[in-house]
C-alpha cells in the first residue's frame, strides 16, 4: 500500500497530461514522485546547468521562470508543468526556475512519463504545446523531439478521400446511347470520357436530363457533344477537406483522380459528392444549394442558423479550422450573392453600369465564423460626370436593400456604418482609388484604422475586373509612399501580447496582473495586422485570409518559416477557441472569463502570445521601428 502515492495520484489526475494517462500508468508515475519544498526565492534549476531526468509540477505556491537578464518568462501556479526540457534528455537549462512564493513541487520522472506519453496521442500533443509555449520559436534541437511526438499523432481527419478506384469510362467516339447503357449496366451516375486513359470529359445523369431529354441533342450524338470538358482533376492524395472545397468552388459534383493530379496523366479514379456524403455526413454543399433555390431573405435566415449548427458539429469533430472557415465563408458569400440577386429584382431598372460588391474586415478575410455585424462596400465603374448623381443614387438604393436584407438574415448592421449603403463606402472606382491614395499618403491614426479594415476586401458579387483595377492602384500608391508601410508597421505593434496567465490573472510583460482578457485585440488582431503588413510589403494581391497570408509568407521567406508557421498555428487555435467560446456563450467570443479557462486552454493561449511576440519582433527589425517606438 502507498497512501501517499494515492494522494499524489488524486492531485495529478485533475491536470493534463496526467488526466490522459490510464489509472495504472498514472499510479506508476505517482509512486515515483519526489516532493520538493522550496522557500521563497530559492532556485530549483538554473541556466546552463545540465538538465535533470525530472520535470516539475507545482503542487502549492508558485514558481517563476526567468531569463538570464532576470526578465520573467512565465509564472507557474498549482498544476502547471515546467522544466520540460528534461524530456529532451540532453542539453542545459535555458531558464532559471525560482520560487516566487513558498512552494511544494512534485518532481516527476521524465523517463517514465515519456514511455507512457509517446504512445498516447492526446498527452503527447499537450506536452508538445506546453514545451513549445515556453520556447519562443522552435529551436533546432527541439525539432526532433517535437517531430517524434508528432509522428505518433497524425490528424485522422485529414484522411485522404476514399474514391472509386474503378471509374467507368468510354472513348470519345461512343454514342450517348451506348454511354447511357454502360452507366445503367454499371449502376453509376457518371461516365468519364477518356483518350489514351487520360480524362477529357464527363457526363452525369444531369447532362442526360438537361441535354438529351430536352431534345437539344439526340441519343445518337457522340458523347463529345454533351460532355462537360475539361474535367477538374486532383491527385490521389486529395483529402476529404480538399474535395469539399474543390466541389464548392467549382460548383461540381464529380472530381477526376489522376496519377499526378493533372488532366494530362492517367485516370485512376472518380470522386463524387455522394462519396463524400457517405464518408462524412456533411451538408454544407446542400446548404449552398438551398441558398441558390431560396426566394426570400427569411429562408436564408433559417439556412444561416443551420450553418451555426453545422459549425458546432464541425468544431466538435475537430475538423481543421481553416477548412471550417472556408466553408462558412462560402455559405456567407452564397447568401450575400443571393441577396444581391433579390435586391436587383426589386430595382426598377438594371444597374446603370458594372459594379462589384466587396466584403471587408473579417468577412473579407474569410474569418467570420460567428454571426457578427456586416462590413461591406460597393465599387462601381466610372460614368460620365453628368450621370454620376443618378448612378450613385441607384447604387445607394440597391445597397440599402442589400444591407437590410442581410440584417434580416442575421448579420447585424455595422454600428460604425462600415457598409455599402453609407455614401462614403459606395463609390466609383476612381473615387475609391483616390480614397485609398489619401489614406496611404496621410497615415494618421484614423486613416490607418480604416486601412486595416478596407485593405482586407474580398470580391463577393459582380465584376471582378474592378477589384483587380483597385488592387493595382492601391499597390501603386503604396509603392510611391515608402513611409506608409512603416506607419502600418508601427500600427501593427500597438498591442504587445500579454506574457502569461497566473491563477485568475493575465500577466503583462512588466509583471502587472490584469483580470480581463480580450482575445480579439490582444491576440488575434496583432496576428492579423502583422500578416496584412507583411503580405502588402511583398506586393501580394488578393490573399486576404490570415492563414493563407502566413502560408504564403512561409513560402516567400524560408528563413522565417518557423515564425510564420508558428503564427499560422496560433491563429488557427485562436480562431477555433474564439468560435467555440462564442457558440457556447452565444456572444462574439471576444471577452474571455479567465476563471473558465482550463490548463490546456491557458497553454494554448499562452503559446499564441509567444507567436505574437515573435512576429512583432520580426516586424520591429524589418521596418526599423525600434527608433520610432
Amino acid at each position: 500500500m502507498n497512501t501517499i502515492a494515492e494522494r499524489i495520484f488524486d492531485y495529478l489526475k485533475a491536470f493534463p497530461p496526467f488526466n490522459l494517462l490510464t489509472r495504472s500508468q498514472l499510479f506508476a508515475v505517482s509512486e515515483r514522485v519526489d516532493v520538493i519544498y522550496l522557500e521563497k526565492d530559492k532556485y530549483l534549476f538554473e541556466i546552463d546547468k545540465p538538465v535533470e531526468d525530472h520535470f516539475y509540477v507545482v503542487r502549492d505556491g508558485a514558481v517563476g521562470l526567468f531569463r538570464e537578464n532576470n526578465s520573467l518568462v512565465d509564472e507557474c501556479d498549482e498544476g502547471d508543468i515546467f522544466g520540460l526540457r528534461a524530456l529532451l534528455r540532453t542539453g542545459l537549462y535555458k531558464l532559471n526556475a525560482k520560487a516566487i512564493e513558498e512552494s511544494i513541487v512534485y518532481s516527476i520522472s521524465s523517463e517514465l512519463l515519456e514511455k507512457y506519453i509517446t504512445t498516447n496521442k492526446d498527452a503527447s500533443q499537450f506536452l508538445m504545446a506546453s514545451f513549445a509555449s515556453n520556447t519562443r520559436v522552435k529551436q533546432a534541437d527541439d525539432n526532433d523531439f517535437i517531430e517524434s511526438l508528432n509522428r505518433s499523432s497524425e490528424y485522422t481527419y485529414l484522411q485522404t478521400a476514399d474514391y472509386s478506384k474503378n471509374p467507368i469510362t468510354c472513348s470519345i467516339h461512343t454514342s450517348v446511347k451506348e454511354a447511357a447503357q454502360i452507366m445503367t449496366h454499371k449502376h453509376v451516375g457518371s461516365i468519364i470520357i477518356v483518350n489514351d486513359n487520360k480524362p477529357i470529359g464527363i457526363i452525369t445523369d444531369k447532362d442526360l436530363r438537361t441535354k438529351i431529354a430536352t431534345g437539344k441533342f439526340t441519343i445518337d450524338d457522340k458523347v463529345s457533344a454533351i460532355m462537360s470538358s475539361p474535367v477538374i482533376t486532383y491527385p490521389e492524395t486529395i483529402t476529404v477537406a480538399e474535395t469539399q472545397i474543390a466541389m464548392l468552388k467549382n460548383k461540381i459534383t464529380h472530381l477526376c483522380i489522376t496519377k499526378d493530379g493533372t488532366d494530362n496523366s492517367e485516370l485512376t479514379g472518380i470522386l463524387s459528392e455522394h462519396d463524400i456524403i457517405v464518408l462524412r455526413e456533411n451538408n454544407a454543399s446542400s446548404l449552398i444549394k438551398e441558398i441558390k433555390r431560396s426566394y426570400w431573405p427569411e429562408q436564408l435566415k433559417d439556412i444561416r442558423e443551420r450553418t451555426e449548427t453545422l459549425l458546432t458539429k464541425y468544431l466538435e469533430q475537430d475538423i481543421p479550422i481553416d477548412f471550417i472557415s472556408k466553408l462558412v465563408s462560402a455559405i456567407n458569400d452564397a447568401i450575400t450573392q443571393r441577396i444581391i440577386e433579390f435586391a436587383l429584382t426589386e430595382m426598377d431598372s438594371k444597374p446603370p453600369t458594372k459594379f462589384t460588391w466587396l466584403a471587408i474586415g473579417s468577412q473579407g478575410r474569410q474569418e467570420q465564423l460567428l454571426m457578427t455585424d456586416q462590413d461591406n462596400a460597393l465599387v462601381f465603374e466610372d460614368v460620365e460626370p453628368s450621370k454620376y448623381e443618378d448612378t450613385k443614387s441607384y447604387f445607394l438604393k440597391l445597397t440599402d436593400h442589400i444591407n437590410h436584407s442581410l440584417e434580416i438574415v442575421g448579420f447585424e448592421l455595422c454600428p460604425a456604418q462600415m457598409m455599402a449603403n453609407n455614401p462614403k463606402w459606395c463609390n466609383s472606382i476612381t473615387e475609391w482609388s483616390q480614397q485609398f491614395k489619401s489614406w496611404i499618403a496621410t497615415p494618421d491614426q484614423d486613416n490607418l484604422m480604416l486601412c486595416t479594415i478596407f485593405f482586407d476586401y474580398e470580391h463577393v458579387y459582380g465584376d471582378t475586373s474592378l477589384v483587380n483595377q483597385l488592387s493595382e492602384q492601391i499597390f501603386e500608391s503604396i509603392a510611391s509612399h515608402d513611409i506608409f508601410l512603416t506607419y502600418l508597421g508601427r500600427n501593427a505593434l500597438q498591442n504587445p501580447p500579454p506574457l502569461s496567465f497566473f491563477r485568475q490573472f493575465l500577466v503583462e510583460d512588466d509583471g502587472e496582473h490584469k483580470d480581463q482578457f480580450d482575445i480579439k485585440s490582444r491576440a488575434m488582431m496583432p496576428l492579423v495586422d502583422a500578416a496584412r503588413l507583411l503580405i502588402l510589403s511583398h506586393n501580394i494581391k488578393s490573399t486576404n485570409n490570415t492563414l493563407e497570408r502566413y502560408e504564403k509568407l512561409a513560402e516567400l521567406e524560408p528563413q522565417n518559416k518557423d515564425t510564420y508557421i508558428f503564427c499560422l498555428e496560433s491563429y488557427k487555435n485562436l480562431l477555433r477557441f474564439r468560435t467555440q467560446r462564442g457558440l457556447a456563450n452565444d456572444d462574439s467570443g471576444r471577452f474571455i472569463d479567465l476563471e473558465s479557462l482550463n490548463k490546456s486552454d491557458r497553454l494554448r493561449l499562452k503559446r499564441s502570445f509567444k507567436a505574437v511576440k515573435s512576429i512583432q519582433e520580426l516586424i520591429k527589425t524589418r521596418f526599423k521601428l525600434s527608433q520610432l517606438l
Partner: protein, 220 residues
C-alpha cells in the same frame, strides 16, 4: 557462567545492525532521513500496542514517494476509544501482519536512516517496546524530533509543546490524511523540510546541529 556469552539475534536484526558500521554523514544532502508515525491503541508505551506504521524517506532533501513503507499490525489488544482517531478496526479489510513480521519489514526498510518524527520519543518508545517483547535490542538510529526542531527556530517560545496540527496551521501545510500513519508521516516530512530551511539560513547546517539540545542553539 554465561555472562560473557552474547545473545544471538535473528538474521534480520544482524542485517539491520550491520548498516551502522559505516559512519553517518554530517551533510544533510547526503543523509537518508526516515520520517515516520505510528497509530496506537493508546498513549501508554508499556501497555498500548502499535496498530500501524507509516514511513517515508527523504534523500537529497527531497521526499521520495517511492521509498516508503506502510504496515498494519495484528494485535490482541483493542481499544474502542482510539478507533475514532485512527479509524483502524480490529478486523477491517486491511492486510495485517504480526509484530515480528512488522519489525522485520521496518528494520529492513529503515537501515541506518536518521529517524524523524513529531514527538519522536513516543513513537520510538512504542517501537522499542515492540522490539523488547520480541527479545530484540533497542533501535540504533539517530532520532530527530520536529517538535524539538521547531523550538530551535525560536519562532515561538511561549511554550515547549506544539501539536502537529498547530504547526501545520502555522506553516500552511495542508492536512490530508491526518491520523493515518502514512498521512501523518508525509505531513511531518513537509514540516521537517520547512524547519530545515528555516534553520539553514546560512547553508551550513549539519546533522549534529540538529541533534544538539535546544539551549545550545543560541551559542552557535
Amino acid at each position: 557462567m554465561h555472562w560473557f556469552k552474547r545473545k544471538t539475534y535473528p538474521e534480520f536484526w544482524n542485517n539491520y545492525a550491520s548498516h551502522f558500521k559505516r559512519a553517518q554523514s554530517q551533510e544533510l544532502e547526503k543523509i537518508r532521513f526516515m520520517v515516520f508515525d505510528t497509530e496506537t491503541t493508546g498513549l501508554e508505551t508499556k501497555k498500548d500496542r502499535v496498530l500501524s506504521i507509516g514511513c517515508i524517506a527523504i534523500s537529497q532533501l527531497k521526499i521520495k514517494v517511492s521509498d516508503q513503507l506502510e504496515v498494519y499490525l495484528k494485535q490482541e489488544l483493542f481499544n474502542a476509544d482510539t478507533v475514532k482517531i485512527h479509524g483502524l478496526l480490529r478486523d477491517g479489510k486491511l492486510t495485517k501482519i504480526d509484530e515480528l513480521e512488522a519489525l522485520k519489514e521496518f528494520l529492513n526498510y529503515i537501515e541506518d536512516a536518521v529517524i524523524v518524527a513529531h514527538h519522536a520519543a513516543f513513537d520510538v518508545a512504542m517501537i522499542n517496546e515492540m522490539l523488547k517483547r520480541n527479545d530484540l535490542p533497542k533501535l540504533k538510529n539517530k532520532v530527530l524530533d520536529t517538535g524539538h526542531l521547531f523550538q530551535k527556530t525560536k519562532i515561538d517560545t511561549s511554550k515547549t509543546h506544539f501539536s502537529l496540527d498547530e504547526l501545520c496551521k502555522r506553516f500552511h501545510i495542508p492536512m490530508h490524511d491526518r491520523h493515518t500513519a502514512s498521512g501523518d508521516a508525509y505531513i511531518t516530512s513537509l514540516l521537517f523540510l520547512k524547519l530545515l530551511s528555516l534553520l539553514n539560513d546560512k547553508n551550513k547546517l549539519k546533522l549534529n546541529d540538529l541533534l544538539s539540545p535546544v539551549k545550545r542553539i543560541g551559542l552557535l
